[in-house]
Amino acid sequence: MAEHSYLGEFELMILLTILRLGDEAYGVPLSRELSLSRGRRVSVGSVYAALDRLESKGLIASSLGEATPERGGRAKRYFRLTEQGLRSIHETRSVLSKLWKSLPTPEELA
């Protein structure tokens, strides 16, 4: 059996948010989007920790962008999905879809 590493909930959300943001995927919009999606505050530090983890797994890649004055001269770090990252999302989706099929409706439980 081939070895798979399925994504955790937060990792999956980050990858999907990177996809949604496209060329504008860096720390600030990522944490804002994630906070909106999850309905609770997401710290920028925890987003970076997950991004570092995903990058070390080869699921995303990053590049440094422009340094703007409102950032105190610090460069932005843009993230994009790798081919492996996209494949990993599809695999996770496939597994979850199979599992979701056995979920009973509230009516069935009653």
């Binding site: 530090g45 970076y48 920790a49 105190g72 610090r74």
Partner: protein, 227 residues
């Protein structure tokens, strides 16, 4: 304390206490959020969380690569009595018995004394490398030399420390030449110099993670504007 000073202090903490993480981009993101209207309390909270997460990662990731070498070093050092029994006599026999004058005779005696320990340590190092093929692929001859050299130094220093610990009135290298130094009367503690020596050799050849430290001072005007 002024808001600008608080922010500067938070940035300093972020840059100096988030070990190895990419604080350049993280710091920029936090400053961008601050510029868009977040409070300095929010900024501090984010900085403290980033430091906490970084410290946790540092401990978790930092401990993991060294766990296996530590266990291996401890386990290998426990085999030393068997090595001594099986190979030490052959090792002594292999060294030509030249009669040389003092002080060169001392070197010969020391070599005969520590030879089995050094060969045991280097054999353990070699076994570890063979078991961890991915380490070999990243190994340069300079790193290998560093590892072997470090193991010798650590073995020497920890052996001297052991002599002091055992309460010898004076540190005499001659004790090392005794046949039973590495085996009999302090078997329980002798594994410490051996294990430390093997671990030092392995530690030097383990792949290192890259750090990109980069600091940039914020201008006073920027801080005043933020405050």
């Amino acid at each position: 304390m002024k808001a600008g000073t608080m922010v500067a202090l938070a940035i300093w903490s972020l840059e100096h206490l988030t070990f190895g993480c990419d604080h350049e981009a993280l710091c920029g993101d936090l400053l961008e959020e601050l510029q868009s209207g977040r409070s300095s309390i929010w900024f501090w909270r984010e900085v403290l969380m980033a430091i906490g997460i970084s410290a946790y990662q540092r401990i978790y990731q930092g401990a993991t690569p060294y766990a296996l070498p530590l266990v291996f070093s401890a386990g290998w050092s426990a085999l030393y009595p068997a090595w001594r029994f099986l190979a030490a006599s052959r090792f002594s026999a292999a060294i030509p018995d030249y009669r040389v004058a003092w002080p060169y005779s001392s070197f010969q005696e020391i070599a005969q004394g520590i030879g089995p320990a050094v060969t045991f340590v280097w054999l353990g190092f070699l076994v570890f490398l063979l078991l961890r093929r991915e380490t070999i692929s990243q190994l340069s001859s300079f790193k290998l030399f560093q590892g072997l050299s470090a193991s010798l130094n650590v073995l020497f220093l920890t052996t001297l420390g052991l002599l002091a610990y055992l309460g010898n009135p004076s540190l005499e290298l001659g004790y090392i030449t005794r046949d039973d130094f590495y085996t009999l009367f302090h078997l329980s503690v002798i594994s410490i110099p051996l294990a430390a020596s093997i671990f030092a050799a392995i530690w030097f050849v383990l792949p290192r993670t890259q750090r990109t430290p980069r600091r940039r001072r914020l201008s006073r005007a920027w801080l005043t504007k933020t405050a």
